[in-house]
Symmetry: C2
Subunit: 295 residues, 2 copies
Protein backbone atom coordinates (compact mmCIF):
# COMPACT_ATOMS: atom_id res chain seq x y z
CA UNK A 1 0.00 0.00 0.00
CA UNK A 2 1.17 3.51 -0.86
CA UNK A 3 2.91 5.60 1.76
CA UNK A 4 1.75 9.18 2.03
CA UNK A 5 5.21 10.05 3.28
CA UNK A 6 6.63 9.02 -0.08
CA UNK A 7 3.90 10.85 -1.97
CA UNK A 8 4.79 13.92 0.03
CA UNK A 9 8.43 13.48 -0.95
CA UNK A 10 7.43 13.24 -4.58
CA UNK A 11 5.41 16.45 -4.47
CA UNK A 12 7.91 18.42 -2.41
CA UNK A 13 10.90 17.28 -4.44
CA UNK A 14 9.11 18.13 -7.66
CA UNK A 15 8.27 21.59 -6.39
CA UNK A 16 11.72 22.30 -5.03
CA UNK A 17 13.61 20.51 -7.77
CA UNK A 18 15.91 18.99 -5.18
CA UNK A 19 15.91 15.96 -2.92
CA UNK A 20 18.17 17.72 -0.45
CA UNK A 21 15.92 20.75 -0.17
CA UNK A 22 12.97 18.41 0.27
CA UNK A 23 14.80 16.56 3.03
CA UNK A 24 15.63 19.81 4.81
CA UNK A 25 12.00 20.89 4.64
CA UNK A 26 10.85 17.55 6.00
CA UNK A 27 13.48 17.58 8.76
CA UNK A 28 15.08 14.44 7.41
CA UNK A 29 18.37 13.46 5.87
CA UNK A 30 18.95 13.60 2.14
CA UNK A 31 19.39 9.88 1.86
CA UNK A 32 15.96 9.33 3.38
CA UNK A 33 14.37 11.21 0.49
CA UNK A 34 16.60 9.51 -2.03
CA UNK A 35 15.50 6.15 -0.66
CA UNK A 36 11.88 7.19 -0.40
CA UNK A 37 11.61 8.34 -3.98
CA UNK A 38 13.53 5.33 -5.17
CA UNK A 39 11.24 2.92 -3.34
CA UNK A 40 8.20 4.73 -4.69
CA UNK A 41 9.56 4.36 -8.20
CA UNK A 42 10.12 0.65 -7.62
CA UNK A 43 6.64 0.15 -6.16
CA UNK A 44 4.94 2.01 -9.00
CA UNK A 45 7.19 0.64 -11.70
CA UNK A 46 7.58 4.17 -13.01
CA UNK A 47 10.67 6.37 -13.23
CA UNK A 48 9.52 9.61 -11.67
CA UNK A 49 12.64 11.77 -11.87
CA UNK A 50 15.34 12.28 -14.43
CA UNK A 51 18.62 12.44 -12.47
CA UNK A 52 20.98 13.11 -15.34
CA UNK A 53 21.36 16.74 -14.36
CA UNK A 54 22.30 18.11 -10.97
CA UNK A 55 18.75 18.91 -10.01
CA UNK A 56 16.23 16.07 -10.47
CA UNK A 57 13.56 16.90 -13.04
CA UNK A 58 10.22 15.15 -13.25
CA UNK A 59 9.87 12.79 -16.19
CA UNK A 60 6.71 13.16 -18.31
CA UNK A 61 5.39 10.11 -16.43
CA UNK A 62 6.19 11.78 -13.12
CA UNK A 63 4.47 14.91 -14.33
CA UNK A 64 1.39 12.91 -15.11
CA UNK A 65 1.36 11.39 -11.65
CA UNK A 66 2.12 14.67 -9.90
CA UNK A 67 -1.37 16.08 -10.33
CA UNK A 68 -2.92 13.00 -8.81
CA UNK A 69 -0.34 12.98 -6.03
CA UNK A 70 -1.20 16.55 -5.10
CA UNK A 71 -4.88 15.67 -5.02
CA UNK A 72 -4.08 12.73 -2.79
CA UNK A 73 -2.15 14.89 -0.37
CA UNK A 74 -4.87 17.51 -0.34
CA UNK A 75 -7.38 14.83 0.49
CA UNK A 76 -5.26 13.59 3.38
CA UNK A 77 -4.90 17.10 4.80
CA UNK A 78 -8.66 17.41 4.50
CA UNK A 79 -9.07 14.23 6.49
CA UNK A 80 -6.80 15.48 9.24
CA UNK A 81 -8.58 18.83 9.28
CA UNK A 82 -11.87 17.08 9.91
CA UNK A 83 -10.28 15.16 12.77
CA UNK A 84 -9.04 18.45 14.23
CA UNK A 85 -12.48 19.94 13.79
CA UNK A 86 -13.86 17.04 15.79
CA UNK A 87 -11.30 17.43 18.58
CA UNK A 88 -12.35 21.08 18.79
CA UNK A 89 -15.85 19.70 19.35
CA UNK A 90 -17.18 21.44 16.32
CA UNK A 91 -20.53 20.20 15.13
CA UNK A 92 -20.63 18.10 12.00
CA UNK A 93 -23.62 19.94 10.63
CA UNK A 94 -26.00 22.70 11.69
CA UNK A 95 -29.55 23.08 10.51
CA UNK A 96 -30.72 26.64 10.30
CA UNK A 97 -34.37 27.54 9.77
CA UNK A 98 -35.01 31.04 8.46
CA UNK A 99 -38.20 32.89 7.63
CA UNK A 100 -37.88 33.35 3.91
CA UNK A 101 -38.44 37.09 4.18
CA UNK A 102 -35.31 37.26 6.35
CA UNK A 103 -33.07 35.41 3.90
CA UNK A 104 -31.27 38.60 2.97
CA UNK A 105 -27.82 39.35 1.62
CA UNK A 106 -26.84 40.21 5.20
CA UNK A 107 -27.60 36.68 6.26
CA UNK A 108 -25.85 35.02 3.35
CA UNK A 109 -22.79 37.18 4.01
CA UNK A 110 -22.68 35.73 7.50
CA UNK A 111 -22.95 32.24 6.10
CA UNK A 112 -20.07 32.98 3.73
CA UNK A 113 -17.95 34.03 6.70
CA UNK A 114 -19.10 30.96 8.59
CA UNK A 115 -18.00 28.74 5.72
CA UNK A 116 -14.53 30.23 5.94
CA UNK A 117 -14.35 30.00 9.74
CA UNK A 118 -15.80 26.50 10.10
CA UNK A 119 -14.88 24.93 6.80
CA UNK A 120 -15.80 21.45 7.98
CA UNK A 121 -19.21 22.17 9.43
CA UNK A 122 -22.04 21.63 6.98
CA UNK A 123 -24.99 23.98 6.92
CA UNK A 124 -28.50 22.83 6.19
CA UNK A 125 -30.48 25.96 5.38
CA UNK A 126 -34.25 25.67 5.45
CA UNK A 127 -36.42 28.64 4.56
CA UNK A 128 -39.93 28.58 5.92
CA UNK A 129 -42.69 30.72 7.31
CA UNK A 130 -42.06 31.85 10.89
CA UNK A 131 -44.53 29.44 12.53
CA UNK A 132 -42.74 26.55 10.84
CA UNK A 133 -39.38 27.92 11.92
CA UNK A 134 -40.28 27.78 15.59
CA UNK A 135 -41.79 24.34 15.13
CA UNK A 136 -38.59 23.00 13.59
CA UNK A 137 -36.50 24.37 16.42
CA UNK A 138 -38.90 23.05 19.04
CA UNK A 139 -38.90 19.58 17.49
CA UNK A 140 -35.14 19.53 17.39
CA UNK A 141 -35.10 19.48 13.58
CA UNK A 142 -33.26 22.79 13.45
CA UNK A 143 -30.42 24.00 15.65
CA UNK A 144 -31.07 27.67 15.18
CA UNK A 145 -33.94 29.73 13.80
CA UNK A 146 -34.41 33.27 12.53
CA UNK A 147 -38.01 34.44 12.48
CA UNK A 148 -40.56 37.11 13.24
CA UNK A 149 -41.57 37.20 16.90
CA UNK A 150 -44.43 35.11 18.11
CA UNK A 151 -46.51 36.69 20.84
CA UNK A 152 -46.87 33.41 22.63
CA UNK A 153 -43.59 32.69 24.33
CA UNK A 154 -42.79 29.02 23.98
CA UNK A 155 -41.53 27.25 27.03
CA UNK A 156 -39.27 24.87 25.14
CA UNK A 157 -37.55 27.54 23.09
CA UNK A 158 -35.18 30.38 23.91
CA UNK A 159 -35.91 33.67 22.17
CA UNK A 160 -33.38 36.41 21.58
CA UNK A 161 -34.53 39.72 20.15
CA UNK A 162 -32.09 40.90 17.51
CA UNK A 163 -33.85 43.73 15.71
CA UNK A 164 -36.93 44.54 13.73
CA UNK A 165 -38.10 44.70 10.15
CA UNK A 166 -40.61 47.21 8.75
CA UNK A 167 -43.76 45.78 7.25
CA UNK A 168 -46.05 47.67 4.91
CA UNK A 169 -49.46 46.92 3.47
CA UNK A 170 -49.20 46.58 -0.29
CA UNK A 171 -51.36 45.75 -3.25
CA UNK A 172 -51.09 45.76 -7.01
CA UNK A 173 -51.18 49.22 -8.60
CA UNK A 174 -54.48 48.35 -10.32
CA UNK A 175 -56.06 46.93 -7.17
CA UNK A 176 -59.02 48.99 -5.83
CA UNK A 177 -57.22 49.81 -2.58
CA UNK A 178 -54.37 51.44 -4.47
CA UNK A 179 -56.44 54.47 -5.36
CA UNK A 180 -57.82 55.03 -1.85
CA UNK A 181 -56.27 57.35 0.69
CA UNK A 182 -56.12 57.58 4.51
CA UNK A 183 -57.65 54.18 5.06
CA UNK A 184 -58.39 52.74 8.49
CA UNK A 185 -57.74 49.09 9.21
CA UNK A 186 -61.43 48.35 8.96
CA UNK A 187 -61.50 49.80 5.44
CA UNK A 188 -59.24 46.95 4.38
CA UNK A 189 -61.64 44.30 5.59
CA UNK A 190 -63.82 44.04 2.47
CA UNK A 191 -60.78 43.10 0.41
CA UNK A 192 -59.03 39.77 0.41
CA UNK A 193 -55.87 39.66 2.48
CA UNK A 194 -53.04 37.30 1.64
CA UNK A 195 -51.27 36.17 4.79
CA UNK A 196 -48.58 33.77 5.86
CA UNK A 197 -49.07 30.77 8.01
CA UNK A 198 -47.07 27.61 8.33
CA UNK A 199 -47.53 24.39 6.50
CA UNK A 200 -49.31 22.89 9.50
CA UNK A 201 -51.86 25.73 9.51
CA UNK A 202 -50.35 27.42 12.53
CA UNK A 203 -51.49 30.96 12.17
CA UNK A 204 -48.85 33.61 12.74
CA UNK A 205 -49.74 35.60 15.85
CA UNK A 206 -48.22 38.85 14.81
CA UNK A 207 -49.18 39.05 11.18
CA UNK A 208 -52.64 37.70 11.89
CA UNK A 209 -55.22 38.24 9.26
CA UNK A 210 -57.94 40.72 10.13
CA UNK A 211 -60.19 40.06 7.20
CA UNK A 212 -62.84 37.39 6.96
CA UNK A 213 -61.93 36.23 3.46
CA UNK A 214 -58.21 35.57 3.62
CA UNK A 215 -55.94 33.38 1.57
CA UNK A 216 -52.95 31.67 3.15
CA UNK A 217 -49.47 30.95 1.94
CA UNK A 218 -46.58 29.03 3.45
CA UNK A 219 -44.02 31.64 2.46
CA UNK A 220 -43.72 35.39 1.98
CA UNK A 221 -42.57 34.94 -1.59
CA UNK A 222 -45.77 33.08 -2.38
CA UNK A 223 -47.72 35.93 -0.81
CA UNK A 224 -45.84 38.37 -3.01
CA UNK A 225 -46.73 36.37 -6.11
CA UNK A 226 -50.44 36.40 -5.26
CA UNK A 227 -50.36 40.13 -4.60
CA UNK A 228 -48.74 40.65 -7.98
CA UNK A 229 -51.65 38.76 -9.51
CA UNK A 230 -54.13 41.19 -7.86
CA UNK A 231 -55.63 38.37 -5.82
CA UNK A 232 -55.50 40.48 -2.68
CA UNK A 233 -53.44 42.76 -0.48
CA UNK A 234 -50.88 41.80 2.14
CA UNK A 235 -48.54 42.90 4.87
CA UNK A 236 -45.02 42.25 3.62
CA UNK A 237 -41.50 43.31 4.63
CA UNK A 238 -40.59 46.63 3.06
CA UNK A 239 -37.30 45.20 1.77
CA UNK A 240 -39.19 42.48 -0.07
CA UNK A 241 -41.63 44.77 -1.90
CA UNK A 242 -39.44 47.85 -2.34
CA UNK A 243 -38.17 46.90 -5.82
CA UNK A 244 -41.71 46.41 -7.12
CA UNK A 245 -43.02 49.58 -5.51
CA UNK A 246 -40.27 51.50 -7.26
CA UNK A 247 -41.16 50.05 -10.65
CA UNK A 248 -44.79 50.91 -10.01
CA UNK A 249 -46.05 47.35 -10.19
CA UNK A 250 -47.07 47.36 -6.54
CA UNK A 251 -48.25 50.20 -4.38
CA UNK A 252 -48.18 50.86 -0.66
CA UNK A 253 -51.66 51.14 0.85
CA UNK A 254 -52.16 54.40 2.70
CA UNK A 255 -53.27 53.02 6.07
CA UNK A 256 -53.36 55.17 9.21
CA UNK A 257 -52.03 53.00 12.00
CA UNK A 258 -51.41 53.90 15.60
CA UNK A 259 -47.82 52.95 15.06
CA UNK A 260 -46.30 53.45 11.66
CA UNK A 261 -44.48 51.92 10.01
CA UNK A 262 -45.39 48.58 11.47
CA UNK A 263 -42.12 47.30 12.83
CA UNK A 264 -42.04 43.56 13.47
CA UNK A 265 -39.45 42.21 15.91
CA UNK A 266 -37.03 39.57 14.68
CA UNK A 267 -35.99 36.82 17.05
CA UNK A 268 -33.19 34.32 17.07
CA UNK A 269 -34.48 31.06 18.51
CA UNK A 270 -32.76 28.00 19.92
CA UNK A 271 -34.05 25.01 21.77
CA UNK A 272 -33.80 25.39 25.51
CA UNK A 273 -31.20 23.32 27.31
CA UNK A 274 -29.16 22.60 24.21
CA UNK A 275 -25.45 22.92 24.84
CA UNK A 276 -23.99 24.91 21.99
CA UNK A 277 -20.89 23.81 20.17
CA UNK A 278 -18.39 26.37 18.88
CA UNK A 279 -20.02 26.64 15.48
CA UNK A 280 -23.48 27.08 16.94
CA UNK A 281 -22.21 29.72 19.35
CA UNK A 282 -20.36 31.59 16.61
CA UNK A 283 -23.37 31.57 14.30
CA UNK A 284 -25.66 32.75 17.06
CA UNK A 285 -23.39 35.67 17.97
CA UNK A 286 -22.79 36.61 14.35
CA UNK A 287 -26.50 36.71 13.58
CA UNK A 288 -27.16 38.73 16.70
CA UNK A 289 -24.59 41.37 15.82
CA UNK A 290 -25.53 41.48 12.16
CA UNK A 291 -29.19 42.16 12.73
CA UNK A 292 -28.42 44.76 15.35
CA UNK A 293 -26.03 46.50 12.96
CA UNK A 294 -28.43 46.31 10.06
CA UNK A 295 -30.49 49.26 11.17
Amino acid sequence: MLSLEQINMLVLSAELGSFSACARKLGKVQSAVSHGINNLEIDLGVELFDRTSRSPKLTPEGERLLRSAKALLAQSYEFEKIAESITRHEEGALTMAVDDALLTPYLSAILALFARTFSHVEIDLVSLASPDVIAMVKDGNADIGVMFSEVEANKQVDFCYVGSVDFVAVCHADFPLAAMRRLSESDLMPYRQIAVRGQQKRESQVLISMTPNAWWCSSNYSVLELVKQQIGWAYLPLSLVQPFVQTGLLQKIDVTFDHKPWSVPVDLVCKKGTLRGPAHQWLFDALKNAFSAER
Copy 2:
Protein backbone atom coordinates in the same frame (compact mmCIF):
# COMPACT_ATOMS: atom_id res chain seq x y z
CA MET B 1 1.78 11.54 8.63
CA LEU B 2 -1.29 9.40 8.06
CA SER B 3 -0.89 5.78 7.05
CA LEU B 4 -3.15 4.64 4.23
CA GLU B 5 -2.95 1.16 5.70
CA GLN B 6 -4.71 2.42 8.81
CA ILE B 7 -7.26 4.35 6.77
CA ASN B 8 -7.97 1.16 4.90
CA MET B 9 -8.47 -0.62 8.21
CA LEU B 10 -10.91 2.06 9.27
CA VAL B 11 -12.98 1.78 6.11
CA LEU B 12 -12.93 -2.01 5.96
CA SER B 13 -13.70 -2.46 9.64
CA ALA B 14 -16.56 0.01 9.39
CA GLU B 15 -18.01 -1.83 6.41
CA LEU B 16 -17.62 -5.28 7.93
CA GLY B 17 -18.42 -4.25 11.46
CA SER B 18 -15.57 -6.40 12.71
CA PHE B 19 -11.85 -6.02 13.24
CA SER B 20 -11.33 -9.76 12.83
CA ALA B 21 -13.16 -9.88 9.51
CA CYS B 22 -11.15 -6.88 8.38
CA ALA B 23 -7.94 -8.64 9.37
CA ARG B 24 -8.92 -11.78 7.47
CA LYS B 25 -9.67 -9.74 4.38
CA LEU B 26 -6.35 -7.94 4.63
CA GLY B 27 -4.47 -11.18 5.21
CA LYS B 28 -3.29 -10.02 8.61
CA VAL B 29 -3.81 -11.02 12.19
CA GLN B 30 -6.62 -9.58 14.27
CA SER B 31 -4.26 -7.85 16.66
CA ALA B 32 -2.73 -5.97 13.75
CA VAL B 33 -6.06 -4.34 12.99
CA SER B 34 -6.78 -3.75 16.65
CA HIS B 35 -3.46 -1.96 16.96
CA GLY B 36 -3.84 -0.14 13.69
CA ILE B 37 -7.23 1.31 14.55
CA ASN B 38 -6.08 2.13 18.04
CA ASN B 39 -3.01 3.99 16.80
CA LEU B 40 -5.13 5.88 14.28
CA GLU B 41 -7.45 6.94 17.07
CA ILE B 42 -4.50 8.11 19.13
CA ASP B 43 -2.98 10.02 16.20
CA LEU B 44 -6.26 11.72 15.33
CA GLY B 45 -7.35 12.26 18.91
CA VAL B 46 -10.74 10.87 17.96
CA GLU B 47 -12.50 7.73 19.15
CA LEU B 48 -13.59 6.09 15.93
CA PHE B 49 -15.31 2.95 17.16
CA ASP B 50 -17.59 2.12 20.04
CA ARG B 51 -16.38 -1.21 21.42
CA THR B 52 -18.99 -1.72 24.12
CA SER B 53 -20.74 -4.36 22.07
CA ARG B 54 -19.25 -7.43 20.46
CA SER B 55 -19.06 -5.86 17.03
CA PRO B 56 -17.37 -2.44 16.89
CA LYS B 57 -19.73 0.29 15.72
CA LEU B 58 -18.56 3.62 14.31
CA THR B 59 -19.04 6.56 16.62
CA PRO B 60 -20.72 9.67 15.12
CA GLU B 61 -17.23 11.14 14.88
CA GLY B 62 -16.02 8.05 13.07
CA GLU B 63 -19.00 8.26 10.77
CA ARG B 64 -18.07 11.83 9.92
CA LEU B 65 -14.52 10.83 9.10
CA LEU B 66 -15.54 7.74 7.14
CA ARG B 67 -16.72 9.67 4.10
CA SER B 68 -13.45 11.53 3.88
CA ALA B 69 -11.51 8.31 4.48
CA LYS B 70 -13.27 6.61 1.57
CA ALA B 71 -12.50 9.58 -0.66
CA LEU B 72 -8.88 9.37 0.42
CA LEU B 73 -8.69 5.68 -0.43
CA ALA B 74 -10.41 6.22 -3.77
CA GLN B 75 -7.85 8.89 -4.57
CA SER B 76 -5.00 6.56 -3.74
CA TYR B 77 -6.41 3.81 -5.96
CA GLU B 78 -6.72 6.40 -8.70
CA PHE B 79 -3.07 7.27 -8.26
CA GLU B 80 -2.03 3.63 -8.53
CA LYS B 81 -4.25 3.15 -11.56
CA ILE B 82 -2.47 5.98 -13.32
CA ALA B 83 0.86 4.38 -12.50
CA GLU B 84 -0.39 1.10 -13.98
CA SER B 85 -1.63 2.95 -17.04
CA ILE B 86 1.88 4.32 -17.45
CA THR B 87 3.54 0.93 -17.07
CA ARG B 88 1.22 -0.32 -19.81
CA HIS B 89 2.75 2.50 -21.88
CA GLU B 90 -0.63 4.12 -22.36
CA GLU B 91 -0.50 7.66 -23.62
CA GLY B 92 -1.33 10.44 -21.18
CA ALA B 93 -3.47 12.26 -23.71
CA LEU B 94 -4.49 11.94 -27.34
CA THR B 95 -5.49 14.78 -29.60
CA MET B 96 -8.06 13.86 -32.20
CA ALA B 97 -8.93 16.16 -35.08
CA VAL B 98 -12.27 15.48 -36.76
CA ASP B 99 -14.04 17.12 -39.68
CA ASP B 100 -17.07 18.62 -38.00
CA ALA B 101 -19.41 16.90 -40.43
CA LEU B 102 -18.07 13.55 -39.22
CA LEU B 103 -18.63 14.26 -35.54
CA THR B 104 -21.57 11.85 -35.45
CA PRO B 105 -23.18 9.78 -32.70
CA TYR B 106 -21.18 6.84 -34.06
CA LEU B 107 -17.99 8.65 -33.27
CA SER B 108 -19.03 9.81 -29.82
CA ALA B 109 -20.12 6.27 -28.99
CA ILE B 110 -16.59 5.14 -29.75
CA LEU B 111 -15.22 7.85 -27.51
CA ALA B 112 -17.55 6.72 -24.73
CA LEU B 113 -16.18 3.20 -25.05
CA PHE B 114 -12.66 4.59 -25.18
CA ALA B 115 -13.28 6.45 -21.91
CA ARG B 116 -14.26 3.19 -20.26
CA THR B 117 -11.35 1.23 -21.74
CA PHE B 118 -8.63 3.82 -21.16
CA SER B 119 -9.99 5.70 -18.17
CA HIS B 120 -6.70 7.51 -17.57
CA VAL B 121 -6.03 8.73 -21.08
CA GLU B 122 -7.33 12.22 -21.75
CA ILE B 123 -8.88 13.06 -25.10
CA ASP B 124 -8.50 16.43 -26.75
CA LEU B 125 -11.17 16.60 -29.43
CA VAL B 126 -10.79 19.28 -32.08
CA SER B 127 -13.41 19.68 -34.80
CA LEU B 128 -12.25 21.42 -37.95
CA ALA B 129 -12.64 21.47 -41.69
CA SER B 130 -10.83 18.61 -43.43
CA PRO B 131 -7.92 20.69 -44.75
CA ASP B 132 -7.21 21.85 -41.19
CA VAL B 133 -7.46 18.29 -39.91
CA ILE B 134 -4.67 17.08 -42.16
CA ALA B 135 -2.60 20.12 -41.28
CA MET B 136 -2.91 19.43 -37.56
CA VAL B 137 -1.85 15.82 -38.01
CA LYS B 138 1.02 16.79 -40.29
CA ASP B 139 2.29 19.38 -37.82
CA GLY B 140 2.12 16.89 -34.97
CA ASN B 141 -0.61 18.85 -33.22
CA ALA B 142 -3.03 15.94 -33.49
CA ASP B 143 -2.36 12.23 -33.03
CA ILE B 144 -5.20 11.05 -35.19
CA GLY B 145 -7.51 12.66 -37.74
CA VAL B 146 -10.86 11.80 -39.31
CA MET B 147 -11.58 13.69 -42.52
CA PHE B 148 -12.78 13.66 -46.11
CA SER B 149 -10.14 12.40 -48.53
CA GLU B 150 -7.75 14.79 -50.14
CA VAL B 151 -6.76 13.98 -53.70
CA GLU B 152 -3.17 15.01 -53.09
CA ALA B 153 -1.57 12.26 -51.04
CA ASN B 154 0.61 13.80 -48.41
CA LYS B 155 4.06 12.30 -47.98
CA GLN B 156 4.20 12.97 -44.25
CA VAL B 157 0.84 11.46 -43.43
CA ASP B 158 -0.58 7.94 -43.54
CA PHE B 159 -4.09 7.62 -44.97
CA CYS B 160 -6.47 4.80 -44.27
CA TYR B 161 -9.74 4.62 -46.16
CA VAL B 162 -12.53 3.70 -43.77
CA GLY B 163 -15.73 4.36 -45.69
CA SER B 164 -17.62 7.08 -47.45
CA VAL B 165 -20.30 9.63 -46.75
CA ASP B 166 -22.96 10.73 -49.22
CA PHE B 167 -23.02 14.40 -50.14
CA VAL B 168 -25.96 16.19 -51.68
CA ALA B 169 -26.38 19.64 -53.16
CA VAL B 170 -28.89 21.57 -51.08
CA CYS B 171 -30.38 25.02 -50.90
CA HIS B 172 -33.14 26.78 -49.02
CA ALA B 173 -36.66 25.85 -50.12
CA ASP B 174 -37.23 29.40 -51.33
CA PHE B 175 -33.92 29.58 -53.21
CA PRO B 176 -34.30 29.85 -57.03
CA LEU B 177 -32.54 26.49 -57.60
CA ALA B 178 -35.11 24.70 -55.46
CA ALA B 179 -37.77 24.99 -58.16
CA MET B 180 -35.56 23.82 -61.02
CA ARG B 181 -35.33 20.22 -62.21
CA ARG B 182 -32.70 18.07 -63.95
CA LEU B 183 -29.94 20.58 -63.61
CA SER B 184 -26.46 20.08 -64.94
CA GLU B 185 -23.44 21.17 -62.94
CA SER B 186 -23.03 24.17 -65.17
CA ASP B 187 -26.57 25.29 -64.38
CA LEU B 188 -25.47 25.78 -60.78
CA MET B 189 -22.70 28.18 -61.71
CA PRO B 190 -24.69 31.40 -61.79
CA TYR B 191 -25.65 30.90 -58.15
CA ARG B 192 -23.43 31.45 -55.18
CA GLN B 193 -21.92 28.27 -53.73
CA ILE B 194 -20.99 28.02 -50.05
CA ALA B 195 -17.97 25.77 -49.61
CA VAL B 196 -15.62 24.64 -46.92
CA ARG B 197 -11.98 25.43 -46.73
CA GLY B 198 -9.61 25.55 -43.81
CA GLN B 199 -8.73 28.48 -41.67
CA GLN B 200 -5.48 28.90 -43.57
CA LYS B 201 -7.33 29.17 -46.89
CA ARG B 202 -6.37 25.68 -48.03
CA GLU B 203 -9.03 24.83 -50.54
CA SER B 204 -10.48 21.36 -50.20
CA GLN B 205 -9.58 19.31 -53.27
CA VAL B 206 -12.62 17.12 -53.33
CA LEU B 207 -15.36 19.54 -52.49
CA ILE B 208 -13.83 22.23 -54.63
CA SER B 209 -16.07 25.06 -55.61
CA MET B 210 -17.05 25.15 -59.26
CA THR B 211 -18.68 28.52 -59.21
CA PRO B 212 -16.94 31.84 -59.74
CA ASN B 213 -18.72 33.66 -56.89
CA ALA B 214 -18.25 31.39 -53.89
CA TRP B 215 -18.27 32.04 -50.20
CA TRP B 216 -16.02 30.11 -47.85
CA CYS B 217 -16.51 28.75 -44.36
CA SER B 218 -14.18 27.01 -41.95
CA SER B 219 -16.76 24.40 -40.95
CA ASN B 220 -19.68 22.50 -42.41
CA TYR B 221 -22.00 23.81 -39.73
CA SER B 222 -21.21 27.36 -40.77
CA VAL B 223 -21.98 26.40 -44.36
CA LEU B 224 -25.29 24.99 -43.22
CA GLU B 225 -26.14 28.22 -41.46
CA LEU B 226 -25.46 30.30 -44.58
CA VAL B 227 -27.53 27.96 -46.70
CA LYS B 228 -30.39 28.34 -44.25
CA GLN B 229 -30.12 32.08 -44.73
CA GLN B 230 -30.52 31.64 -48.52
CA ILE B 231 -27.09 33.07 -49.13
CA GLY B 232 -26.27 30.27 -51.54
CA TRP B 233 -26.30 26.53 -52.16
CA ALA B 234 -23.78 23.95 -50.98
CA TYR B 235 -22.63 20.37 -51.05
CA LEU B 236 -23.19 18.97 -47.59
CA PRO B 237 -23.29 15.52 -46.01
CA LEU B 238 -26.71 13.98 -46.32
CA SER B 239 -26.76 13.15 -42.62
CA LEU B 240 -26.17 16.79 -41.77
CA VAL B 241 -29.00 18.23 -43.87
CA GLN B 242 -31.49 15.34 -43.65
CA PRO B 243 -33.41 16.77 -40.65
CA PHE B 244 -33.91 20.11 -42.41
CA VAL B 245 -34.88 18.51 -45.70
CA GLN B 246 -37.56 16.56 -43.87
CA THR B 247 -38.99 19.66 -42.23
CA GLY B 248 -39.01 21.34 -45.64
CA LEU B 249 -36.67 24.16 -44.69
CA LEU B 250 -33.99 22.96 -47.10
CA GLN B 251 -34.35 21.16 -50.40
CA LYS B 252 -32.09 18.85 -52.35
CA ILE B 253 -31.10 20.26 -55.72
CA ASP B 254 -31.96 17.96 -58.62
CA VAL B 255 -28.52 17.70 -60.24
CA THR B 256 -27.72 15.04 -62.82
CA PHE B 257 -24.23 13.82 -62.06
CA ASP B 258 -22.23 11.08 -63.69
CA HIS B 259 -22.10 9.41 -60.30
CA LYS B 260 -24.97 9.82 -57.95
CA PRO B 261 -25.18 10.25 -55.08
CA TRP B 262 -21.84 11.86 -54.70
CA SER B 263 -20.04 9.64 -52.24
CA VAL B 264 -17.02 11.19 -50.57
CA PRO B 265 -14.38 8.87 -49.11
CA VAL B 266 -13.53 9.22 -45.44
CA ASP B 267 -9.95 8.73 -44.33
CA LEU B 268 -8.32 8.08 -41.01
CA VAL B 269 -5.00 9.91 -40.93
CA CYS B 270 -1.94 9.57 -38.74
CA LYS B 271 1.50 11.05 -38.98
CA LYS B 272 3.96 8.73 -40.69
CA GLY B 273 6.57 7.09 -38.52
CA THR B 274 4.75 7.65 -35.25
CA LEU B 275 4.88 4.64 -33.00
CA ARG B 276 1.39 4.06 -31.68
CA GLY B 277 0.70 3.46 -28.02
CA PRO B 278 -2.08 1.09 -26.95
CA ALA B 279 -4.69 3.85 -26.72
CA HIS B 280 -3.78 5.22 -30.14
CA GLN B 281 -3.90 1.76 -31.66
CA TRP B 282 -7.24 0.96 -30.04
CA LEU B 283 -8.79 4.21 -31.17
CA PHE B 284 -7.51 3.74 -34.70
CA ASP B 285 -8.94 0.22 -34.95
CA ALA B 286 -12.23 1.20 -33.36
CA LEU B 287 -12.72 4.08 -35.77
CA LYS B 288 -11.84 1.89 -38.71
CA ASN B 289 -14.36 -0.78 -37.77
CA ALA B 290 -17.08 1.69 -36.86
CA PHE B 291 -17.01 3.51 -40.16
CA SER B 292 -16.90 0.26 -42.10
CA ALA B 293 -19.88 -1.02 -40.12
CA GLU B 294 -21.79 2.22 -40.53
CA ARG B 295 -22.93 1.35 -44.05
